[in-house]
């Protein structure tokens, strides 16, 4: 057996040489790092690096003064990560963390988002389970009641009504319609476009096609355009309005207007050929009826 004394100095020299060489080959830093620890944690969250995100949120939480905004932000980041990470989610931890925010700063911005987070957890149950819709709607209603003017409250309103509308039952549909009609009266409300779309679904269920067409057009007019996404797609909405006008309402002028908008604004859309056929079909039908009159 070789003892330490027997190792030749040249071996140590060689090892030292390798030690000098390998760091030179070390991996370059691929990801950008951020000076703000909360921001760095969210970057890890975006990359799906859940453990790293949790470690960074934890570190930010430890370093933040009690009751500070940084503490709330770290708590919210932690709650969101434990709620939404897959695999390795921990609903109990997430609920406790959201609750901590609600207790610490019940009227804060993050309290609104935390309450919505808790409601979403009731709605987005694991695959194979069915949500308890009474509980889900109650949770959304709580967000609406506690934060009526906050974006989280308005988002909860849209989710609540989408649950009612998705039932495709008349009673629930009428309930949703009454709430939505009131909501769209205030045009400055965020999510007013989706509210009109949900109204269009209500009118479909209730077979009120003229109103459905009107609601779809309102929804299109109120669509918020994401300024940084040039591919905000109106092609589907044009097509949808045109086909409702043609086949459900028989309003060929409106149908022609939106088929033509599709052709003009989306010259590469796959539905363009069908739109051209539709324009011809309407002309042919009108000519046929005129001959018969």
């Amino acid at each position: 057996m070789m003892t330490r004394k027997q190792v030749n100095p040249f071996t140590w020299l060689f090892v030292a040489l390798l030690a000098l060489i390998f760091p030179a080959c070390s991996r370059k830093q691929a990801a950008e790092t951020s000076a703000n620890p909360i921001s760095a944690a969210w970057t890890d969250y975006t990359l799906g690096e859940w453990d790293r995100a949790i470690a960074k949120f934890d570190a930010a939480l430890t370093g933040a003064p009690k009751g500070s905004d940084d503490q709330l932000q770290a708590l919210y980041g932690l709650a969101t990560t434990w709620n939404l990470r897959r695999p390795g989610e921990n609903s109990q931890k997430a609920i406790a963390l959201y609750q901590q925010i609600l207790d610490a700063a019940p009227k804060s911005d993050l309290a609104a988002w935390s309450l919505l987070g808790l409601a979403r957890m009731k709605h987005l149950v694991p695959v194979g389970d069915e949500p308890n819709y009474d509980e889900v709607m109650k949770a959304y209603q709580e967000v609406i009641d506690r934060f009526p003017n906050h974006l989280a409250g308005k988002e909860a309103f849209i989710y609540l009504n989408s649950v009612l509308v998705s039932s495709l039952k008349e009673r629930e549909t009428r309930r949703a319609l009454a709430m939505l009609e009131k909501f769209v009266q205030n045009e400055s409300n965020e999510f007013v476009g989706p509210a009109y779309s949900l109204m269009a679904v209500c009118y479909t269920t209730l077979n009120m096609q003229d109103k459905r067409l009107w609601a779809e057009i309102q929804s299109l007019d109120k669509t918020e355009v994401d300024p940084t996404n040039p591919f905000t797609e109106f092609a589907w909405q044009y097509w949808n309005i045109a086909t409702i006008a043609e086949f459900e309402v028989g309003d060929f002028n409106t149908a022609r207007k939106y088929y033509n908008k599709l052709l003009k604004e989306y010259p590469n859309d796959m539905r363009d050929y069908a739109a051209e056929q539709a324009l011809k079909r309407m002309d042919d039908l009108e000519a046929k009826i005129r001959r018969e009159l």
Binding site: F10, Y159, S162, E224, P227, W239, T243, G250, M270
Partner: protein, 566 residues
């Protein structure tokens, strides 16, 4: 002397390792010096295009770039496709990737590309709304970069990241290539017919003749690889008629769920004329492929074509120049569109509703690695390649289609001008699971004439109706998985908005609301509608999605009557 010998003997292994290391290091330095002088800026560009013309074109363009940037040297890492996914993965993870990397290779799954984009590449969104400086003096001088692209730079935009991540440099398309010399010799024709029946006649004539060795000519060189192109461009669009019957949500296409509901409820079956027509056409055309084509690879078909044993072969623009080069001095290559039956064709005429629709797609796209030491120069070089004149020249040398507006393409590629008006397939039977396994057992037997269409359908349709329900239900569970993924994504967008200030915050919140509306509100409704359709079936008494109901017709008549009176 003795002590030196003893020393060498004692440390021989270590000396060999050290000597090899220093020798390698010296060689690398030597090679790098040859590639670019010491002190210059070297940018590496990695891609999988081994076609000679691509490497030549990039070298020429690098030379052109150096005329105005004398200190910048572009070095290519051309990697075979078969190992590209492993190579790029290890390079990126090791932090040793080229500065510019060709992205989007199909052998790397999309979700992996997504994580690579996130971790290893520089977002380019801030550049796309600025004019490309290399368009100065052209009609695109003031046009934002993204609007200089024929497809609006759509392929560069990654929805999941809400960022532009690459600079595409070419556009691609698929057509039929043919050996014009052989066609002339065997049929007396100078150009191949694009009318379907005439095309089949030509194939029949070719198949009836033999070469000097007594071997029959193969009309169409086919393989499993090539079959997909024939299917997508010719057979599948025949099924478009199903849109009129089964597009229940009237979005213009028939989803696999809609088709399943239509078949399960008896509204459609596999004897629906457009479906039968697809398989009839498939049989008529593939009968002129070489025997056993389903088991052959791309290269085997290309050899057959290059050795002048076959007249036709379908492929994309990416092979155009290579085929031209292979044929040089031996035969003339022609390019034709996929044949289409006439409107008055006794069988296909009433079924085929129009030409085939093609989606524009850009490719040969490069992203900039985060490890790049000179990202501004890498971007500048890519913008140089995307300039109108330069993009035309680059693609002219390669033999591909330029992707920038106002560029001219090689006359040979005129036939690749995409059809932007037309019909598309509407027979997506892929429900996954057992249904797909069953189909993949039966379909090849039909392809190689081991069973007729009726036999295949007699086995498949009952299975699809019954067992498909399980696969359909499993697929339905995906809407909840999808919502979960969207929730995860939206949380990060919300976090960005919460952290933003001023105008940036306004924009970030608009983005958040727009994404929430698009991704999280409709899934539950869609699921409810589909389940209702499965449970209750479509209203068979009602008119189809693209037909006028009696009430609507009455309303139209009333309106026209009023108009007449006025």
């Amino acid at each position: 002397m003795k002590s030196l010998f003893t020393f060498i003997r004692s440390y021989f292994a270590m000396i060999v390792v050290a000597a090899t290391f220093f020798w390698s290091a010296a060689l690398i330095v030597l090679y790098r010096t040859k590639e670019a002088p010491i002190g210059s800026i070297t940018l590496r560009i990695g891609h999988w295009q081994l076609e000679a013309s691509v490497r030549d074109a990039l070298n020429v363009m690098a030379q052109r770039y150096r005329e105005t940037h004398p200190n910048v040297y572009i070095v290519q890492d051309a990697i075979p496709e078969s190992v590209y996914s492993q190579w790029i993965s290890t390079q990126l993870m090791g932090g040793t990737s080229p500065d510019m990397v060709e992205v989007g290779h199909g052998s790397v799954p999309w979700n992996i590309w997504l994580s690579y984009y996130n971790r290893y590449f520089v977002p380019l969104s801030h550049e796309v709304n600025r004019p490309n400086p290399y368009n100065k003096g052209t009609d695109l001088e003031r046009t934002p970069l993204r609007n200089t692209y024929k497809d609006g730079m759509r392929t560069s935009y990654i929805d999941e990241m809400q960022e532009y991540m690459s600079i595409p440099l070419s556009q691609f398309g698929v057509r039929i290539f043919y050996n014009r010399t052989l066609l002339r010799k065997l049929t007396g024709l100078d150009t191949a017919p694009t009318e379907y029946r005439a095309f089949l006649e030509v194939c029949k004539k070719i198949a009836s003749q033999t070469n000097q060795f007594g071997k029959a000519y193969v009309p169409i060189a086919g393989s499993a690889y090539h079959f997909g192109m024939w299917d997508g461009m010719m057979f599948d669009p025949v099924t478009y008629g199903a849109v009129h019957k089964a597009d229940f949500n009237r979005d213009g296409s028939v989803g696999n769920d809609e088709l399943f509901v239509a078949v399960r409820t008896g509204l459609l079956n596999f004897h629906f004329p457009p479906f039968e027509a697809k398989f009839k056409m498939l049989r008529e055309v593939t009968d002129y492929f070489q025997t056993g084509y389903t088991g052959l690879t791309r290269d085997e078909a290309v050899f057959l074509f290059a050795q002048q044993k076959a007249v036709f072969m379908t492929t994309g623009t990416w092979d155009a120049r290579s085929l031209q080069k292979q044929a040089e001095g031996q035969f003339e290559v022609g390019v034709m569109d996929f044949p289409l039956p006439k409107r008055d064709d006794p069988y296909y005429g009433p079924i085929i509703e129009g030409p085939v629709y093609e989606r524009l797609f850009g490719g040969f796209a490069f992203s900039i690695a985060r490890t790049c030491k000179h990202p501004e120069i890498a971007l500048d070089f890519l913008l140089f390649l995307a300039g109108q004149k330069q993009n035309e020249e680059l693609n002219k040398i390669i033999g591909w289609i330029p992707c920038i507006l106002g560029t001219q393409m090689d006359p040979m590629l005129k036939a690749f001008e995409p059809h932007l008006r037309g019909v598309y397939g509407a027979m997506n039977i892929n429900l996954g699971g057992e249904t797909m396994v069953k189909w993949s057992q039966l379909y090849p037997s039909y392809q190689v004439r081991q069973m007729s269409y009726d036999e295949m359908i007699a086995q498949f349709e009952p299975f699809y109706k019954e067992e498909g329900l399980k696969d359909f239900m499993e697929q339905q569970r995906d809407w909840r998985r999808g919502m979960q993924r969207n929730e995860q994504f939206l949380a990060s967008i919300r976090a960005r908005a919460l952290a933003a200030k001023g105008d940036e915050a306004t924009s970030a919140w608009v983005k958040y609301r727009a994404l929430t509306k698009d991704r999280q509100i409709w899934a539950e409704l869609g699921h409810s509608r589909q389940m209702k359709l499965i449970d209750q079936g479509p209203d068979t008494g009602a008119v189809g999605p693209y037909e006028y109901g009696p009430q609507v017709l009455a309303k139209i008549k009333e309106r026209l009557k009023k108009e007449k009176k006025n």
